[in-house]
């Protein structure tokens, strides 16, 4: 029988901030999304005050003033580094690891003939000691059950952070599942939950006891799989190598409303640059660029306009120049003067691995292609060594008036020599 553990960082972004700023300990803290829009992470204290995930910051102002909620802009550079550290520590505890998200990973624990709860505690302790990050661990015979166990470990204090469902009797397990809303089960999103509830399936136990064939009548095979996994039969394996992404998106809100085409052009070029870097990092090419712009839906007085357009490319490419050209061509077509735009986005679609590019009838000149490739490699190398945006397309703009608001961003403590933590002496 398989055994999986899911290790999950508690309130991950907030915890990262707390490592370097102990003053934030025991205080309500929220981390805001890009452009300081809404809460994307909340400390336990903030959750207790009723701050909801994704709540717009401007709606929380009164509450924040009353309770002294600290709001921080997101510092993804820091979170990514801390995540890498956490994953590297966890890697030592199992021969197989699947990094599932920035703050979660699965570990394979097949054939570990030890007390898994104690082992889980050892894992938690080392992660906390080495990186300063608190975690919870769920253990179970399937990935779905491990994920559910993690939810239990997090919500129910008596587990002390480690919940091993494999150790429970069938009866005790069912007892536990009966008290969990079906929406908490991995893979059951809001829509599926609504549908399940209408069918009389309210708890995790109900779903476990559902007929697989019956579920198949109403839902996809994915939900059927969830049911089987809840019953303790492992169908989902660890994916130790992350599959290459099928699309790459870069979209952000502006710091202030934008009306000028030139500002939008700069934004589109910057976002394309970012997306193209990711594209090249996973050695893919893309065959279509989707661009979108939109006005601010919260400003109801403004004229609303949110167009998007997909531009297909004659040939798969990862050349920032070509992608930006395509993006700008599309922007030209959807831009309407007089609107106050709040956000723009670029999505690279139809990705193919770099090695299976199809040549076209009207091929570029060989040397052109080589030069472009070399240019991109050089750009990536310089930016890698000298820091992000050491070289960039001039079209991305130097001043960037539209740039994101990040009013309260903490320093990049672990990745920037000039921004190290200052310690009093």
């Amino acid at each position: 029988m398989s055994t999986f553990a899911l290790v999950d960082g508690n309130n991950f972004y907030v915890s990262c901030e707390r490592v370097f700023n102990p003053q934030l300990e025991k205080r309500p803290v929220v981390v805001l999304s890009n452009n300081d829009g809404c809460a994307v992470a909340r400390s336990q204290e903030a959750k207790a005050l009723g701050v909801k995930m994704g709540a717009p910051w401007f709606q929380m102002q009164a509450l924040a003033r009353k309770h002294g909620i600290v709001a921080l802009s997101s510092n993804y550079t820091l979170y990514a580094d801390m995540s890498n550290r956490m994953m590297a520590v966890l890697e030592k505890f199992s021969p197989s690891q699947e990094v599932y998200s920035i703050d979660e990973c699965f570990l394979g624990l097949d054939g570990f003939h030890t007390d898994l709860t104690a082992y889980g505690q050892a894992i938690r302790q080392q992660v906390k000691c080495w990186t300063g990050l608190p975690t919870c661990i769920g253990i179970g015979p399937t990935k779905t059950l491990a994920k559910l166990a993690n939810h239990i470990a997090k919500k129910q204090r008596e587990w002390a952070g480690v919940c091993d469902l494999g150790k429970l009797s069938e009866h005790a397990l069912n007892d536990l599942l009966e008290r969990i809303d079906v929406g908490e089960v991995w893979g059951v999103g809001r829509r599926i939950r609504e549908k399940l509830v209408r069918l009389g399936i309210n708890t995790a136990l109900d779903l476990k006891r559902a007929e697989v064939a019956f579920i198949g009548d109403y839902f996809s095979v994915v939900t059927q799989r969830t049911v089987v996994e809840l019953q303790g039969v492992s169908l989902l394996q660890l994916e130790e190598v992350a599959p290459a992404r099928q699309q790459i998106m870069c979209s952000r809100s502006f710091g202030l409303p934008v009306t000028q085409l030139t500002d939008l052009q700069q934004a589109i070029i910057s976002y394309t640059t970012r997306a193209a870097e990711k594209l090249r990092r996973q050695s893919s090419l893309c065959r279509a660029v989707h661009i979108s712009i939109r006005t601010n839906p919260f400003r109801q007085k403004d004229a609303q306009y949110s167009p998007g357009l997909t531009v297909t490319l004659p040939k798969a490419t990862c050349d920032t120049l070509k992608l930006a050209q395509a993006g700008l061509w599309g922007l030209q077509r959807i831009y309407r003067p007089g609107c106050r735009y709040a956000k723009a986005g670029v999505i690279l679609l139809d990705l193919v691995p770099a090695e299976i590019r199809q040549t076209s009838l009207f091929t570029d000149h060989e040397t052109d292609k080589k030069n472009a490739q070399q240019l991109m490699q050089t750009m990536d190398a310089i930016n890698q060594r000298m820091g992000k945006d050491a070289v960039f397309l001039a079209g991305a703009g130097v001043e960037k008036r539209w740039h994101m608001k990040q009013g309260n961003k903490t320093p990049r403590y672990t990745t920037e020599w000039k921004e190290l933590v200052v310690v009093q002496c």
Binding site: T131, V422, C425
Partner: protein, 254 residues
């Protein structure tokens, strides 16, 4: 296998076009050899490189006299003026090599469509200058230090014991001057090391990170300053102190 080897001279009886370049040669050789691959031990052990080597050896011999086509003075078998070369081959391979030689003598030069052209391994205008690929080509005298090349020192490896648990911090203040820690120095701090009595540590006291010497004796915990002008930190009830990490190295500017 008996070590008897038979001499066999190739001489100038082979016919080769001067413009038959090495890649084409290789193609000839490869096509030919692949026919015999199954039957011959010598050939099955041939790697691409040794075939190349083989070709090059023979090319020395063959190409030297390869004025193919047209009239030439002094045609016909040479008597004394032209020296011949003796080549040793394993007996078991003699037949194969002779076949190859014969085959190359009679076969017309093979034309490949351009998309089948293999990568040119060497591009030489005159075949006489084709290097022997079995050696690595070295310019100049081999360095006597060759055997002693080692990786350059990497400070990350030398100074950091636990990569995941190590952080850099910058010092502000003068309370640890006695321990050689000055304002503006950078510290390497390892969180994986257990803080023991008398080590220099980073501690969180009242929400603030501070560097001090850790005193832990007979149940008493204190943080000692290393500058008489600064007080030690002693803990009263309810006051909380967390050791954040242990200082392992101090980085200073000279």
């Amino acid at each position: 296998m008996s070590a008897v080897k038979k001499r066999f001279a190739v001489g100038d009886s082979l016919l080769f076009s001067r413009d038959l370049k090495l890649p084409v040669w290789l193609k000839h050789a490869w096509l030919f050899l692949s026919d015999y691959k199954n039957g011959n031990k010598f050939l099955t052990s041939l790697s691409a490189y040794s075939i190349l080597d083989f070709c090059v050896i023979y090319q020395d011999i063959l190409m030297g006299k390869s004025n193919w086509g047209g009239q030439r003075s002094g045609a016909g078998r040479k008597r004394v003026a032209e020296p011949t070369v003796t080549v040793r081959v394993p007996v078991s391979s003699k037949e194969t090599i002779m076949k190859l030689v014969r085959h190359m003598k009679t076969a017309s030069s093979v034309r490949f469509p351009p998309y089948l052209e293999p990568l040119l391994l060497v591009q030489q205008s005159a075949p006489q200058f084709i290097p022997r690929m079995s050696y690595s080509v070295r310019a100049g005298f081999p360095s006597p230090a060759d055997d002693y090349v080692e990786k350059r020192i990497d400070l990350n490896e030398e100074l950091i014991q636990h990569r995941e648990a190590t952080f850099f911090l910058r010092v502000r203040g003068h309370s640890m001057i006695g321990a050689g820690i000055d304002d503006g120095d950078e510290l390497i701090v390892d969180r994986a090391i257990i803080p023991e009595h008398n080590r220099i540590v980073v501690a969180a006291v009242d929400g603030e990170l501070t560097v001090k010497r850790f005193y832990h004796r007979h149940g008493v915990v204190k943080l000692l300053a290393e500058n008489p002008q600064y007080p030690d930190i002693e803990f009263k009830n309810e006051q909380e102190m967390v050791i954040w990490g242990v200082v392992t190295k101090i980085i200073k500017s000279a």
